[in-house]
Point group: C2
DNA sequence: TCCATATATTTAGATATCTCGATATTATGG
DNA sequence: CCATAATATCGAGATATCTAAATATATGGA
């Protein structure tokens, strides 16, 4: 739980939105048939929704992953990102403990 | 509740420390006799503890104030800062609502 | 009024973050 | 193997943040 890194990752409105969007898969287009049953959302869908360049979103997802907010799983050419609920809770606990 | 501004204010280890220190008045030297009964801690004490320049701390306190984490009250030449517990809670609620 | 003290504001150089285009990497299908 | 697609990484210019020194403002006391 690196609070510095986590807060820094959240210090951007689009990155916060992405974490929020990932709460509900239906915020994105339906998965391809061959991806049925896989958890998470691929980078392309996130990029489309965020409307920023591919490299920016890939970078964002890397930051969110390092911060522990999302888990990445590669399947073929796709990387699927999903929330890491346990780490997200741990972050809240840490912030609360430090500040509240 | 400007989440952007609040997270930005917390995106610095010393500023977070200051908010934490202010939880307990005894983290600072005792108040001057003429300040007995006044709430908060003067900028000089905070600066001493943080060990950064006067202008930096003054700037920090301004950011924390704009973000709603502290309340400033001037008494004579001194400005006393104390936590704004209600706003701090509101911040947590907002983050939780958005992310959790 | 003049001076000392506490804090705020201004200014600026150093460093970090943002965002993109270009390129590299990895995987798939023919 | 080649072409294509999805994602990651690199490099760079624009913008923001950090932090301090210098200066300004406000107050209190001699």
């Amino acid at each position: 739980m690196d609070l510095e890194r986590s807060i820094s990752a959240l210090n951007n409105p689009v990155r916060r939105k992405i974490v929020e969007w990932l709460k509900d898969r239906s915020n994105f287009p339906p998965a391809l048939p061959e991806h049925e049953g896989l958890e998470g959302v691929c980078v392309g869908y996130i990029q489309e929704k965020a409307n920023l360049s591919q490299s920016t979103i890939s970078n964002y997802m890397g930051l969110l992953k390092q911060a522990g907010f999302v888990i990445a799983e590669r399947h073929g050419q796709w990387t699927f990102y999903r929330r890491d609920e346990d780490n997200i809770k741990a972050f809240f606990d840490a912030v609360q403990k430090e500040l509240l």
